[in-house]
Subunit: 282 residues, 4 copies
């Protein structure tokens, strides 16, 4: 199923080369003044082709609201937002136009889900990655950008940045991690807000020249998150976050808090210290 | 939430006067050849303005597939189909254009959900019934027309017809109820396949002249339904059907099998008789 | 699945002759003082064998709380309450004790789900109705009795009574329908709070002598229900109620408001009239 | 909510010191011969107090089946299995017996969820960890042991072992990782099937003497997992696994496949190689 969440349930739809990709949000709070420019801005941050270190497709992803709003105000009903696919060039993907799939001569792209889709569904989109295309994340970004505006009203901020690429681990960022903002992050082509950004950029360009790429880590800092969030057993906040993060294509790991570093910590050091009235309780 | 179902989960979206209404089906069987003309045909059967006994809006509801298909074949991914709203005339509904709702002078339409929406959401669509508009059912009809094609492969047929309007209860239909088909039903303007159809038509027209309308009953015959369908306790087949039927605006009752007639039956008469090898077991 | 509901989700379990039947409620409000005697009282109202007009099993269904409470207070965690089965007499049901089901000589009880279970699951409980037993409703009654106490805090009352048995339709009840209470209803053996109760009782006893029984109608009056309850499209309040009611074994119909009577009403008469400040708006 | 899964949905219930902890599985396959001794065996593997390196509680956790089985065969109905709590000594936890919570003098245990529960629910179990107690995992182990028997029929095996404790990372196991079995793992007190197990044991005992403990890593090898498992977008297999794993108390990270090691891999090396007919496709 292509849905995630409960009260703010998102359902994404669309393949890489069908008419549209998008999302139904069922439902945002009603009577909420939504800033669509801010949604568009986040979508543009997602867009490949912004710099020479990402994939070269320069897609103009303009959001179109189909339902759930009137005069810029949410109605509390399912909010549907789409982006039309424009860069439809099936021949890019070297699939035949015929209906019959040529199983015999088909060479699936390695490390892509093409073959798995074919096994599971008995068919896959003739061109592109279908649902496994990075364009599927457009629906997520739209929903995230809307969630962001709602969280902002509650003073909650979510800031992500690249914290490692290959073996390049910056030992200093432009500012303390907890003071990073999206504006600071966006000043860096690599989204790694460190003077090592140039180093990372060179590494990526070098690999790109050889048709290659490399892994990385993204760190996310959430501030003013209310206490008691999440359900006590299976839907713990960290479990839901892990679920969401591992659902992003090509993600291989998730850590929260001290993460795997805690393996080498003894309990007495690892303990969280309770604070009383915002001050450490000693 | 605007979703119904499990394996073939439908999510409808759209208000009466937003850009589009539609449905995401998550997901139809993959690799299924879908006849979109048949979907369009069912949608046209739903359309008001086909005869002088329904509401006069003559809307051309053309379906547009946004995702989930390629070359007429389903991909097993979320199938999104929309219809664009065209008849957008807010002034028809006598709402002000201002953002601020004039609570003081607002006179809600009786027996509509306008006021309830306003209470619940603090806002309602400026024009028309919003989600409570009959246009919401467009998404249902699209999904139903697709389900219909899938069921057809399993030899299951679903036929509905008008069985009563006001106090007019036909005592004879064109054919035995179990032999009725949609084609037969559609020969009658009122969808009541009986010579009493004319009587019904006159009654409706008479009421319509006075700006009025009247209630009715719809009967549905499902054939070749597999045994064991439904879950044993809460999601019994009849419970799910009742849920679905009562979710249609302005529905007030649901009966299955002998329905309320069984109140006056003694157990020994009401019993279903088991058949052995298709023959009655006596 | 054996679950129903969202925030107060109930999962019932247990067959007629396994060790226990019961319910997990996930989850009642936390820190709620629960009166278990009141729960027991409702369960005793459900119990067969209270009078000579119901089935003769005199089961003492004592509730046992397994989890979710401490010192009479709910913890906001899953509340599990069971009743142990005592009246385990497989021979009552004429099933062999062997593991192998004797399909050839098996004569399923008519109008019971025995055969359907066998088809669907390839097995059914050797004795009794398994999940289709009326004992499954024990879990529902426990959950209902707890919901009742929560609703009571919000001044919401739910009162049900027998409004028809066979062709006996009382034309007068002890008091106006809206003034009926459970205490009044319980004064009548038949739960039909009318002087016709005696007539109904005689009819049932007469049928019972011949090993027979008859249908009936139950009416339910909910008071102080908050406006805006339910979801706008599929999970409308009336749709959820219909779902719940049709999930009770042997239920064949559901009506809300004017029900099927509205078929013969013209719109102008059927309209609800809006009230202003509790007074009719004329 | 305390549920996880779809077709084999488990709902756990029970606090550390209420009468019982357990699980409802809705529903295992019907007509399945379940070996309860094997379930008991897995539960005994979970049990603390088996050796001097775990917590000293020696609980005898005997499973009791409440519903869903007859003569050792599942009925396809909700399977409820409980374990009664025996070691109920509230005074161990230093909570007062009074109903009123003494917020002023309450010192919550650090790194436990006690305080969070109190904030979220306005109450927490007077004694022990309530739902956050390790005893909650009893329901999971029961469900897992049953799933295990079902998977075994499909030749799927799941083997977990300790792969690191503190800074002790065995560089060799008793056998190749893919050849490890539960029987081999169980030969080692630490469940680390390596000659380093003694080293680990000494480290834990040393820390234990000082009332301390340390972190570790668990590795899990699943064999013969069918291809195409999981849903294409949000409920990817790895996302569901991450969700499940992070829902275990005190888990801080999850990796799948090459995990975080892939950060330093270039794409061309990281690629999975397709095999043809079980042989590498070169």
């Amino acid at each position: 199923m292509s849905s995630f969440g409960n009260y703010f349930k998102i359902t994404t739809f669309g393949e890489s080369h069908c008419p549209s990709v998008g999302v139904v949000i069922d439902a945002p709070p009603s009577n909420f003044k939504l800033d669509l420019d801010k949604v568009q801005k986040q979508l543009s941050r997602r867009r490949p082709g912004q710099s020479d270190i990402t994939t070269p497709r320069n897609e103009l992803d303009q959001i179109i609201v189909l339902s759930g709003m009137e005069n810029g105000i949410t109605l509390g009903t399912p909010l549907t937002i789409i982006v039309n696919n424009k860069n439809i060039k099936p021949e890019d993907y070297n699939f035949s136009e015929e209906n019959e799939f040529d199983f015999k001569n088909y060479i699936p792209r390695p490390s892509h889900s093409d073959l798995t889709y074919l096994w599971k569904y008995g068919i896959h989109a003739k061109s592109g990655g279908g649902r496994s295309s990075a364009r599927e994340t457009i629906g997520r970004v739209i929903a995230g950008a809307i969630a962001d505006q709602i969280l902002e009203k509650h003073n909650i901020s979510v800031t992500s940045f690249v914290s490692q690429v290959g073996d390049i681990i910056p030992n200093e960022f432009e500012t303390l991690e907890e003071n990073l903002t999206r504006d600071i992050v966006d000043k860096y082509k690599t989204r790694c807000p460190s003077k090592d950004s140039d180093l990372i950029e060179r590494k990526i360009l070098e690999l790109k020249e050889n048709g290659n790429s490399i892994g990385g880590k993204v760190k996310c800092i959430i501030k003013n998150c209310p206490r008691g969030l999440g359900e006590p057993v299976f839907d713990k906040m960290e479990a839901m976050l892990a679920h969401a993060m591992l659902s992003i294509p090509a993600t291989k790991g998730f850590e929260i808090g001290s993460g795997f570093d805690c393996v080498n910590q003894i309990r007495s050091n690892h303990n969280d210290v309770w604070l009383k009235d915002g001050k450490q309780n000693k």
